[in-house]
Symmetry: C2
Subunit: 285 residues, 2 copies
Protein backbone atom coordinates (compact mmCIF):
# COMPACT_ATOMS: atom_id res chain seq x y z
CA UNK A 1 0.00 0.00 0.00
CA UNK A 2 1.37 3.41 -0.94
CA UNK A 3 0.45 7.07 -1.01
CA UNK A 4 -1.02 6.49 -4.49
CA UNK A 5 -2.91 3.25 -3.73
CA UNK A 6 -4.00 3.39 -0.09
CA UNK A 7 -7.79 3.69 0.18
CA UNK A 8 -9.43 6.68 1.79
CA UNK A 9 -11.24 5.79 5.00
CA UNK A 10 -13.60 7.79 7.18
CA UNK A 11 -14.16 8.09 10.91
CA UNK A 12 -16.82 9.99 12.81
CA UNK A 13 -15.44 12.18 15.59
CA UNK A 14 -17.16 13.66 18.62
CA UNK A 15 -16.93 17.16 17.17
CA UNK A 16 -19.44 16.09 14.49
CA UNK A 17 -16.95 15.79 11.63
CA UNK A 18 -16.60 12.69 9.50
CA UNK A 19 -12.87 12.80 8.78
CA UNK A 20 -11.40 11.51 5.51
CA UNK A 21 -8.01 9.92 6.16
CA UNK A 22 -5.58 7.25 5.01
CA UNK A 23 -3.52 4.94 7.19
CA UNK A 24 -0.87 2.61 5.85
CA UNK A 25 2.79 1.62 6.06
CA UNK A 26 4.85 -0.77 8.13
CA UNK A 27 3.22 -1.63 11.46
CA UNK A 28 4.81 0.38 14.27
CA UNK A 29 3.98 1.16 17.89
CA UNK A 30 3.84 4.88 17.30
CA UNK A 31 2.25 6.04 14.05
CA UNK A 32 3.23 9.32 12.37
CA UNK A 33 0.37 11.74 11.76
CA UNK A 34 0.91 14.25 8.93
CA UNK A 35 -0.76 17.68 9.00
CA UNK A 36 -1.06 19.47 5.71
CA UNK A 37 -0.49 23.07 4.54
CA UNK A 38 -2.75 25.92 3.43
CA UNK A 39 -5.19 24.63 0.78
CA UNK A 40 -3.53 21.22 0.85
CA UNK A 41 -5.44 17.95 0.98
CA UNK A 42 -4.18 14.41 1.50
CA UNK A 43 -3.29 14.05 -2.19
CA UNK A 44 -0.79 16.90 -1.97
CA UNK A 45 1.71 14.79 0.03
CA UNK A 46 4.64 13.72 -2.10
CA UNK A 47 4.40 9.96 -2.82
CA UNK A 48 8.18 9.50 -2.65
CA UNK A 49 8.35 11.31 0.68
CA UNK A 50 5.41 9.50 2.26
CA UNK A 51 6.38 6.08 0.93
CA UNK A 52 9.96 6.47 2.18
CA UNK A 53 8.58 7.05 5.66
CA UNK A 54 5.84 4.39 5.33
CA UNK A 55 8.52 1.80 4.56
CA UNK A 56 9.63 2.15 8.18
CA UNK A 57 6.49 3.07 10.13
CA UNK A 58 2.75 3.56 9.96
CA UNK A 59 1.66 6.91 8.54
CA UNK A 60 -1.70 8.63 8.84
CA UNK A 61 -2.74 11.48 6.56
CA UNK A 62 -5.93 13.39 7.28
CA UNK A 63 -8.05 16.23 5.99
CA UNK A 64 -9.11 18.66 8.73
CA UNK A 65 -12.79 19.59 9.02
CA UNK A 66 -14.02 21.18 5.81
CA UNK A 67 -10.89 20.18 3.86
CA UNK A 68 -11.06 17.74 0.93
CA UNK A 69 -13.69 15.13 1.70
CA UNK A 70 -13.91 15.72 5.45
CA UNK A 71 -17.26 17.18 6.51
CA UNK A 72 -17.75 20.23 8.69
CA UNK A 73 -16.33 23.74 8.66
CA UNK A 74 -12.65 24.62 8.65
CA UNK A 75 -11.58 26.47 11.82
CA UNK A 76 -10.58 30.13 11.51
CA UNK A 77 -7.74 29.95 14.05
CA UNK A 78 -4.94 27.59 14.98
CA UNK A 79 -6.16 26.58 18.46
CA UNK A 80 -9.54 25.50 17.04
CA UNK A 81 -7.66 23.70 14.27
CA UNK A 82 -5.62 21.83 16.90
CA UNK A 83 -8.80 20.87 18.77
CA UNK A 84 -10.23 19.65 15.46
CA UNK A 85 -7.28 17.33 14.90
CA UNK A 86 -7.40 16.17 18.52
CA UNK A 87 -11.01 15.06 17.90
CA UNK A 88 -9.75 13.01 14.95
CA UNK A 89 -6.93 11.45 17.01
CA UNK A 90 -9.39 10.62 19.78
CA UNK A 91 -11.78 9.06 17.25
CA UNK A 92 -8.98 6.70 16.19
CA UNK A 93 -8.27 5.92 19.86
CA UNK A 94 -4.60 6.90 19.61
CA UNK A 95 -2.64 7.74 22.76
CA UNK A 96 0.93 8.09 21.52
CA UNK A 97 1.86 9.48 18.12
CA UNK A 98 4.62 11.29 16.30
CA UNK A 99 3.50 14.42 14.48
CA UNK A 100 4.71 15.99 11.23
CA UNK A 101 3.35 19.42 10.38
CA UNK A 102 4.02 21.23 7.12
CA UNK A 103 3.50 25.00 6.93
CA UNK A 104 0.09 25.80 8.50
CA UNK A 105 0.07 22.14 9.57
CA UNK A 106 3.21 22.97 11.53
CA UNK A 107 1.37 25.77 13.33
CA UNK A 108 -1.33 23.25 14.25
CA UNK A 109 1.26 20.66 15.26
CA UNK A 110 2.88 23.10 17.72
CA UNK A 111 -0.44 24.15 19.23
CA UNK A 112 -1.72 20.59 19.46
CA UNK A 113 1.48 19.49 21.19
CA UNK A 114 1.18 22.32 23.70
CA UNK A 115 -2.46 21.33 24.36
CA UNK A 116 -1.75 17.58 24.63
CA UNK A 117 1.91 17.23 25.59
CA UNK A 118 1.46 13.60 26.66
CA UNK A 119 0.06 12.57 23.28
CA UNK A 120 3.09 13.50 21.18
CA UNK A 121 6.38 11.63 21.28
CA UNK A 122 8.42 13.47 18.61
CA UNK A 123 7.77 16.37 16.26
CA UNK A 124 8.79 17.19 12.70
CA UNK A 125 8.19 20.80 11.65
CA UNK A 126 8.72 21.64 7.97
CA UNK A 127 8.36 25.04 6.30
CA UNK A 128 6.78 26.55 9.36
CA UNK A 129 7.27 29.08 12.12
CA UNK A 130 6.41 30.03 15.68
CA UNK A 131 3.32 31.96 16.69
CA UNK A 132 4.17 35.65 16.39
CA UNK A 133 6.93 34.95 13.85
CA UNK A 134 8.31 36.92 10.91
CA UNK A 135 6.80 37.94 7.62
CA UNK A 136 3.74 35.74 7.16
CA UNK A 137 1.06 37.82 8.88
CA UNK A 138 0.15 39.51 5.59
CA UNK A 139 1.84 38.29 2.44
CA UNK A 140 3.19 40.70 -0.18
CA UNK A 141 0.93 41.34 -3.16
CA UNK A 142 2.71 39.08 -5.64
CA UNK A 143 2.80 36.17 -3.20
CA UNK A 144 -0.88 36.73 -2.35
CA UNK A 145 -1.83 36.65 -6.00
CA UNK A 146 -0.39 33.14 -6.34
CA UNK A 147 -1.49 31.89 -2.92
CA UNK A 148 -5.08 33.12 -2.99
CA UNK A 149 -5.91 32.57 -6.69
CA UNK A 150 -9.29 30.82 -7.09
CA UNK A 151 -7.94 28.12 -9.39
CA UNK A 152 -4.24 27.54 -8.88
CA UNK A 153 -2.14 26.08 -11.66
CA UNK A 154 1.32 24.55 -11.87
CA UNK A 155 2.98 27.98 -12.11
CA UNK A 156 1.39 29.05 -8.82
CA UNK A 157 2.67 25.98 -6.98
CA UNK A 158 6.13 26.38 -8.51
CA UNK A 159 6.21 30.02 -7.40
CA UNK A 160 5.08 29.20 -3.86
CA UNK A 161 6.98 25.97 -3.15
CA UNK A 162 10.19 26.14 -5.21
CA UNK A 163 12.91 28.67 -5.96
CA UNK A 164 13.31 30.53 -9.25
CA UNK A 165 16.34 28.38 -10.17
CA UNK A 166 15.98 25.97 -13.07
CA UNK A 167 17.05 23.06 -10.89
CA UNK A 168 14.46 23.76 -8.20
CA UNK A 169 11.66 24.33 -10.72
CA UNK A 170 12.50 21.07 -12.47
CA UNK A 171 12.19 19.24 -9.15
CA UNK A 172 8.90 21.08 -8.71
CA UNK A 173 7.58 19.76 -12.01
CA UNK A 174 8.59 16.24 -10.95
CA UNK A 175 6.68 16.69 -7.70
CA UNK A 176 3.58 17.94 -9.51
CA UNK A 177 3.74 14.93 -11.81
CA UNK A 178 3.87 12.62 -8.80
CA UNK A 179 0.94 14.09 -6.88
CA UNK A 180 -1.33 14.04 -9.90
CA UNK A 181 -0.65 10.39 -10.72
CA UNK A 182 -3.15 8.82 -8.31
CA UNK A 183 -5.52 6.89 -10.54
CA UNK A 184 -8.68 6.60 -8.43
CA UNK A 185 -10.24 7.73 -5.16
CA UNK A 186 -8.73 11.19 -5.56
CA UNK A 187 -9.37 13.74 -2.87
CA UNK A 188 -11.60 16.80 -3.44
CA UNK A 189 -10.07 20.20 -4.16
CA UNK A 190 -10.09 22.57 -1.19
CA UNK A 191 -13.05 24.96 -1.24
CA UNK A 192 -12.76 28.74 -1.27
CA UNK A 193 -14.58 28.82 2.07
CA UNK A 194 -11.85 26.65 3.56
CA UNK A 195 -9.18 28.79 1.88
CA UNK A 196 -10.63 31.89 3.56
CA UNK A 197 -10.87 30.21 6.98
CA UNK A 198 -7.22 29.16 6.64
CA UNK A 199 -6.17 32.68 5.64
CA UNK A 200 -7.69 33.89 8.91
CA UNK A 201 -5.88 31.18 10.87
CA UNK A 202 -2.52 32.03 9.27
CA UNK A 203 -2.93 35.78 9.80
CA UNK A 204 -3.90 35.25 13.45
CA UNK A 205 -0.88 33.01 14.10
CA UNK A 206 1.33 35.49 12.24
CA UNK A 207 0.54 38.64 14.22
CA UNK A 208 4.10 39.71 15.06
CA UNK A 209 4.71 39.04 18.75
CA UNK A 210 8.15 37.86 19.94
CA UNK A 211 6.74 37.34 23.45
CA UNK A 212 5.04 34.23 22.04
CA UNK A 213 8.42 32.59 21.40
CA UNK A 214 8.64 31.77 25.11
CA UNK A 215 5.76 29.28 24.59
CA UNK A 216 8.20 27.14 22.61
CA UNK A 217 9.85 26.21 25.91
CA UNK A 218 6.79 23.98 26.45
CA UNK A 219 7.60 21.88 23.39
CA UNK A 220 10.09 19.58 25.06
CA UNK A 221 9.66 16.78 22.53
CA UNK A 222 12.69 16.13 20.35
CA UNK A 223 11.94 18.18 17.23
CA UNK A 224 13.33 18.04 13.72
CA UNK A 225 13.05 21.46 12.09
CA UNK A 226 13.38 21.50 8.30
CA UNK A 227 13.14 24.10 5.57
CA UNK A 228 14.60 25.37 2.35
CA UNK A 229 17.10 28.20 2.63
CA UNK A 230 14.81 30.59 0.75
CA UNK A 231 11.23 30.00 1.85
CA UNK A 232 9.07 33.04 1.05
CA UNK A 233 5.72 31.75 2.41
CA UNK A 234 6.85 31.20 5.98
CA UNK A 235 10.18 32.97 5.52
CA UNK A 236 13.23 30.91 6.45
CA UNK A 237 14.18 33.04 9.50
CA UNK A 238 11.10 31.52 11.17
CA UNK A 239 12.81 28.15 10.91
CA UNK A 240 15.81 29.61 12.75
CA UNK A 241 13.50 31.05 15.41
CA UNK A 242 12.07 27.57 15.98
CA UNK A 243 15.48 25.90 16.07
CA UNK A 244 16.81 28.65 18.37
CA UNK A 245 13.96 28.70 20.87
CA UNK A 246 12.89 25.04 20.97
CA UNK A 247 14.56 23.25 23.90
CA UNK A 248 15.45 20.15 21.91
CA UNK A 249 15.66 20.83 18.17
CA UNK A 250 17.76 19.70 15.25
CA UNK A 251 17.90 21.81 12.09
CA UNK A 252 18.06 20.63 8.49
CA UNK A 253 18.33 23.39 5.90
CA UNK A 254 18.15 22.44 2.21
CA UNK A 255 20.10 24.54 -0.33
CA UNK A 256 18.38 26.27 -3.26
CA UNK A 257 15.02 25.22 -1.84
CA UNK A 258 11.94 27.05 -0.63
CA UNK A 259 8.70 26.25 1.21
CA UNK A 260 8.39 22.89 -0.57
CA UNK A 261 11.89 21.69 0.38
CA UNK A 262 10.43 18.41 1.66
CA UNK A 263 9.00 17.78 -1.84
CA UNK A 264 12.19 18.92 -3.59
CA UNK A 265 14.30 16.44 -1.58
CA UNK A 266 11.59 13.85 -0.83
CA UNK A 267 13.81 10.83 -0.37
CA UNK A 268 16.47 12.59 1.69
CA UNK A 269 13.77 14.21 3.81
CA UNK A 270 11.96 10.90 4.31
CA UNK A 271 15.19 9.21 5.34
CA UNK A 272 16.02 11.95 7.81
CA UNK A 273 12.55 11.68 9.33
CA UNK A 274 13.07 7.94 9.69
CA UNK A 275 16.48 8.36 11.33
CA UNK A 276 15.13 11.00 13.65
CA UNK A 277 12.14 8.90 14.72
CA UNK A 278 14.22 5.73 15.02
CA UNK A 279 16.50 7.53 17.46
CA UNK A 280 13.54 7.74 19.88
CA UNK A 281 13.12 3.97 19.64
CA UNK A 282 16.75 3.32 20.51
CA UNK A 283 16.78 1.91 24.08
CA UNK A 284 19.94 3.94 24.72
CA UNK A 285 18.04 7.13 24.03
CA UNK B 1 52.40 39.64 3.67
CA UNK B 2 50.48 36.92 5.47
CA UNK B 3 49.12 35.97 8.88
CA UNK B 4 52.48 34.34 9.60
CA UNK B 5 54.74 37.12 8.28
CA UNK B 6 52.93 40.42 8.83
CA UNK B 7 54.72 42.51 11.47
CA UNK B 8 53.00 43.47 14.71
CA UNK B 9 52.42 47.21 14.96
CA UNK B 10 51.29 49.39 17.86
CA UNK B 11 49.06 52.40 18.17
CA UNK B 12 48.29 54.54 21.21
CA UNK B 13 44.60 55.11 21.81
CA UNK B 14 42.84 57.79 23.84
CA UNK B 15 41.82 55.23 26.47
CA UNK B 16 45.48 54.92 27.44
CA UNK B 17 46.09 51.54 25.81
CA UNK B 18 48.90 50.89 23.36
CA UNK B 19 47.22 48.33 21.12
CA UNK B 20 49.19 45.53 19.40
CA UNK B 21 47.72 44.86 15.96
CA UNK B 22 48.49 43.67 12.45
CA UNK B 23 47.17 45.12 9.22
CA UNK B 24 47.78 43.58 5.82
CA UNK B 25 46.12 42.17 2.71
CA UNK B 26 44.90 43.57 -0.57
CA UNK B 27 44.11 47.28 -0.42
CA UNK B 28 40.36 47.83 -0.08
CA UNK B 29 38.08 50.73 0.78
CA UNK B 30 36.59 48.97 3.77
CA UNK B 31 38.96 46.90 5.90
CA UNK B 32 37.78 43.88 7.88
CA UNK B 33 38.49 44.01 11.62
CA UNK B 34 38.71 40.64 13.39
CA UNK B 35 37.78 40.27 17.06
CA UNK B 36 39.13 37.26 18.86
CA UNK B 37 37.67 34.73 21.32
CA UNK B 38 38.16 33.99 25.02
CA UNK B 39 41.90 33.75 25.78
CA UNK B 40 42.71 34.21 22.10
CA UNK B 41 45.42 36.53 20.82
CA UNK B 42 46.24 37.59 17.27
CA UNK B 43 48.31 34.45 16.67
CA UNK B 44 45.26 32.23 17.22
CA UNK B 45 43.69 33.23 13.88
CA UNK B 46 44.00 30.46 11.33
CA UNK B 47 46.58 31.43 8.66
CA UNK B 48 44.58 29.75 5.87
CA UNK B 49 41.39 31.51 6.92
CA UNK B 50 42.97 34.95 7.32
CA UNK B 51 45.09 34.71 4.17
CA UNK B 52 42.08 33.62 2.09
CA UNK B 53 40.30 36.78 3.18
CA UNK B 54 43.43 38.96 2.93
CA UNK B 55 43.82 37.95 -0.72
CA UNK B 56 40.67 39.99 -1.43
CA UNK B 57 40.69 42.79 1.18
CA UNK B 58 42.62 44.45 3.95
CA UNK B 59 42.38 42.69 7.31
CA UNK B 60 43.16 44.05 10.76
CA UNK B 61 43.71 41.79 13.76
CA UNK B 62 44.03 43.31 17.21
CA UNK B 63 44.54 42.38 20.85
CA UNK B 64 42.10 44.11 23.19
CA UNK B 65 43.46 45.94 26.23
CA UNK B 66 45.39 43.54 28.45
CA UNK B 67 45.42 40.78 25.81
CA UNK B 68 48.68 39.53 24.27
CA UNK B 69 51.02 42.49 23.89
CA UNK B 70 48.41 45.25 24.23
CA UNK B 71 48.84 47.27 27.42
CA UNK B 72 46.10 48.07 29.93
CA UNK B 73 43.49 45.97 31.69
CA UNK B 74 40.99 43.70 30.00
CA UNK B 75 37.38 44.87 30.52
CA UNK B 76 35.10 42.72 32.69
CA UNK B 77 31.98 43.22 30.58
CA UNK B 78 31.06 43.32 26.92
CA UNK B 79 30.03 47.00 26.67
CA UNK B 80 33.39 48.11 28.12
CA UNK B 81 35.07 45.68 25.72
CA UNK B 82 33.22 47.31 22.82
CA UNK B 83 34.30 50.78 23.98
CA UNK B 84 37.87 49.47 24.21
CA UNK B 85 37.79 48.34 20.57
CA UNK B 86 36.15 51.61 19.52
CA UNK B 87 39.14 53.44 21.03
CA UNK B 88 41.40 51.31 18.85
CA UNK B 89 39.33 51.97 15.71
CA UNK B 90 39.36 55.69 16.46
CA UNK B 91 43.13 55.62 16.97
CA UNK B 92 43.49 54.22 13.44
CA UNK B 93 41.13 56.92 12.15
CA UNK B 94 38.74 54.43 10.56
CA UNK B 95 35.18 55.49 9.75
CA UNK B 96 33.81 52.52 7.80
CA UNK B 97 34.74 48.92 8.51
CA UNK B 98 33.44 45.39 8.24
CA UNK B 99 33.60 43.43 11.46
CA UNK B 100 34.18 39.72 12.11
CA UNK B 101 33.69 38.50 15.66
CA UNK B 102 34.47 34.99 16.85
CA UNK B 103 32.87 33.71 20.07
CA UNK B 104 33.35 36.40 22.75
CA UNK B 105 34.62 38.59 19.89
CA UNK B 106 31.16 38.12 18.39
CA UNK B 107 29.55 39.42 21.59
CA UNK B 108 31.79 42.49 21.33
CA UNK B 109 31.05 42.87 17.62
CA UNK B 110 27.30 42.97 18.28
CA UNK B 111 27.61 45.46 21.11
CA UNK B 112 30.07 47.66 19.20
CA UNK B 113 27.74 47.71 16.18
CA UNK B 114 24.80 48.72 18.35
CA UNK B 115 26.94 51.51 19.89
CA UNK B 116 28.33 52.75 16.55
CA UNK B 117 25.85 51.67 13.87
CA UNK B 118 27.33 54.09 11.33
CA UNK B 119 30.83 52.64 11.65
CA UNK B 120 29.99 49.10 10.57
CA UNK B 121 29.07 48.11 7.02
CA UNK B 122 28.69 44.32 7.32
CA UNK B 123 29.05 41.81 10.10
CA UNK B 124 30.34 38.25 10.32
CA UNK B 125 29.45 36.40 13.54
CA UNK B 126 31.08 33.02 14.08
CA UNK B 127 30.56 30.65 17.01
CA UNK B 128 28.69 33.25 18.98
CA UNK B 129 25.32 34.15 20.41
CA UNK B 130 23.01 36.97 21.44
CA UNK B 131 23.06 38.64 24.84
CA UNK B 132 20.86 36.57 27.14
CA UNK B 133 21.29 33.43 24.99
CA UNK B 134 21.39 29.74 25.82
CA UNK B 135 23.81 27.65 27.82
CA UNK B 136 26.97 29.74 28.11
CA UNK B 137 26.29 31.68 31.29
CA UNK B 138 28.01 29.02 33.40
CA UNK B 139 29.75 26.20 31.60
CA UNK B 140 29.41 22.58 32.73
CA UNK B 141 32.26 21.27 34.89
CA UNK B 142 34.04 19.28 32.18
CA UNK B 143 33.93 22.18 29.75
CA UNK B 144 35.16 24.57 32.47
CA UNK B 145 38.08 22.32 33.27
CA UNK B 146 39.33 22.60 29.68
CA UNK B 147 38.40 26.26 29.20
CA UNK B 148 39.81 27.65 32.45
CA UNK B 149 42.94 25.47 32.81
CA UNK B 150 46.00 27.60 33.65
CA UNK B 151 48.16 26.13 30.89
CA UNK B 152 46.07 24.80 28.03
CA UNK B 153 47.46 22.13 25.77
CA UNK B 154 46.46 20.70 22.39
CA UNK B 155 43.90 18.37 23.97
CA UNK B 156 42.10 21.30 25.59
CA UNK B 157 41.81 23.17 22.30
CA UNK B 158 40.64 20.03 20.47
CA UNK B 159 37.97 19.48 23.13
CA UNK B 160 36.76 23.08 23.00
CA UNK B 161 36.94 23.84 19.26
CA UNK B 162 36.39 20.51 17.48
CA UNK B 163 34.01 17.55 17.72
CA UNK B 164 34.93 14.13 19.11
CA UNK B 165 34.96 12.64 15.58
CA UNK B 166 38.28 11.52 14.17
CA UNK B 167 37.83 13.71 11.12
CA UNK B 168 37.17 16.86 13.12
CA UNK B 169 40.05 16.19 15.52
CA UNK B 170 42.42 15.64 12.61
CA UNK B 171 41.41 19.02 11.20
CA UNK B 172 42.00 20.40 14.68
CA UNK B 173 45.56 19.09 14.74
CA UNK B 174 46.16 20.67 11.32
CA UNK B 175 44.90 23.99 12.68
CA UNK B 176 47.15 23.78 15.74
CA UNK B 177 50.11 23.07 13.49
CA UNK B 178 49.32 26.16 11.44
CA UNK B 179 48.94 28.63 14.31
CA UNK B 180 52.18 27.53 15.94
CA UNK B 181 54.26 27.92 12.78
CA UNK B 182 54.91 31.67 13.01
CA UNK B 183 58.67 31.94 13.21
CA UNK B 184 59.22 35.32 14.85
CA UNK B 185 57.41 38.20 16.49
CA UNK B 186 54.99 35.81 18.20
CA UNK B 187 52.28 37.26 20.38
CA UNK B 188 52.28 36.87 24.17
CA UNK B 189 50.12 34.23 25.84
CA UNK B 190 46.99 35.63 27.46
CA UNK B 191 47.42 36.26 31.20
CA UNK B 192 45.28 34.65 33.89
CA UNK B 193 44.12 38.12 34.92
CA UNK B 194 42.77 38.63 31.38
CA UNK B 195 41.23 35.15 31.44
CA UNK B 196 39.34 36.04 34.61
CA UNK B 197 38.15 39.37 33.25
CA UNK B 198 36.87 37.60 30.14
CA UNK B 199 35.08 34.95 32.23
CA UNK B 200 33.20 37.80 33.90
CA UNK B 201 32.35 39.34 30.54
CA UNK B 202 31.05 36.04 29.13
CA UNK B 203 28.97 35.25 32.24
CA UNK B 204 27.45 38.74 32.20
CA UNK B 205 26.52 38.49 28.50
CA UNK B 206 25.18 34.97 29.11
CA UNK B 207 22.69 35.73 31.90
CA UNK B 208 19.60 34.09 30.36
CA UNK B 209 17.24 36.83 29.20
CA UNK B 210 15.18 36.35 26.03
CA UNK B 211 13.99 39.97 26.30
CA UNK B 212 17.48 40.96 25.10
CA UNK B 213 16.88 39.31 21.72
CA UNK B 214 14.80 42.32 20.68
CA UNK B 215 18.03 44.38 20.67
CA UNK B 216 19.08 42.39 17.61
CA UNK B 217 16.52 44.39 15.62
CA UNK B 218 19.04 47.23 15.84
CA UNK B 219 21.67 45.28 13.92
CA UNK B 220 20.42 46.10 10.46
CA UNK B 221 23.75 45.42 8.77
CA UNK B 222 23.80 42.40 6.47
CA UNK B 223 25.16 39.68 8.73
CA UNK B 224 26.71 36.31 7.98
CA UNK B 225 26.11 33.92 10.89
CA UNK B 226 28.34 30.85 10.96
CA UNK B 227 28.87 27.93 13.27
CA UNK B 228 29.45 24.23 13.54
CA UNK B 229 26.39 22.06 14.08
CA UNK B 230 27.62 20.93 17.52
CA UNK B 231 29.21 23.89 19.27
CA UNK B 232 29.34 23.27 23.05
CA UNK B 233 31.03 26.56 24.11
CA UNK B 234 28.37 28.90 22.72
CA UNK B 235 25.89 26.12 21.97
CA UNK B 236 24.68 26.00 18.38
CA UNK B 237 21.06 27.02 19.18
CA UNK B 238 22.51 30.48 19.89
CA UNK B 239 23.50 30.65 16.24
CA UNK B 240 19.86 29.94 15.30
CA UNK B 241 18.68 32.63 17.70
CA UNK B 242 20.96 35.12 15.92
CA UNK B 243 19.86 34.03 12.45
CA UNK B 244 16.20 34.06 13.52
CA UNK B 245 16.15 37.44 15.23
CA UNK B 246 18.61 39.45 13.11
CA UNK B 247 16.74 41.47 10.46
CA UNK B 248 19.15 40.64 7.67
CA UNK B 249 21.08 37.43 8.30
CA UNK B 250 22.40 34.51 6.29
CA UNK B 251 23.22 31.24 8.03
CA UNK B 252 26.07 28.85 7.29
CA UNK B 253 26.14 25.70 9.40
CA UNK B 254 29.11 23.34 9.05
CA UNK B 255 28.56 19.59 9.57
CA UNK B 256 30.47 17.61 12.21
CA UNK B 257 31.98 20.85 13.46
CA UNK B 258 31.98 22.72 16.73
CA UNK B 259 33.02 26.13 18.08
CA UNK B 260 36.09 26.20 15.83
CA UNK B 261 34.16 25.52 12.61
CA UNK B 262 35.89 28.49 10.96
CA UNK B 263 39.26 26.83 11.62
CA UNK B 264 38.01 23.38 10.57
CA UNK B 265 36.85 24.72 7.19
CA UNK B 266 39.24 27.69 6.90
CA UNK B 267 39.28 28.01 3.13
CA UNK B 268 35.55 27.53 2.62
CA UNK B 269 34.84 29.95 5.45
CA UNK B 270 37.27 32.53 4.04
CA UNK B 271 35.71 32.23 0.59
CA UNK B 272 32.21 32.65 2.00
CA UNK B 273 33.29 35.75 3.91
CA UNK B 274 34.76 37.14 0.70
CA UNK B 275 31.59 36.45 -1.30
CA UNK B 276 29.44 37.94 1.43
CA UNK B 277 31.52 41.12 1.69
CA UNK B 278 31.83 41.43 -2.09
CA UNK B 279 28.04 41.41 -2.36
CA UNK B 280 28.02 44.74 -0.46
CA UNK B 281 30.38 46.18 -3.04
CA UNK B 282 28.15 45.19 -5.95
CA UNK B 283 26.60 48.41 -7.29
CA UNK B 284 23.35 46.45 -7.81
CA UNK B 285 23.21 45.76 -4.09
Amino acid sequence: MTQLTSPTRTVEADNGTTFAYRRFGKQSDVPLLLLQCFRGNIDLWDPIMVDTIAAEREVITVDASGVGRSTGSTPHNVPDYARDIISFVDALGLHNIDLLGFSMGGFVAQELTLMRPYLIRQLVLAGTGPEGGRGFHKWADELQSHAFKEEQDAEDLLYLFFTPSEASRAKGMDYLGRIFSRESDQDAVTSLETRDAQIDAIADWGIPDPSKFSRLAGLRQPTLVVNGDRDIMVPTPNTFLLAGHLPNAELVLYPDAAHGALFQYPEDFGNRVNEFLEAAEDPAW
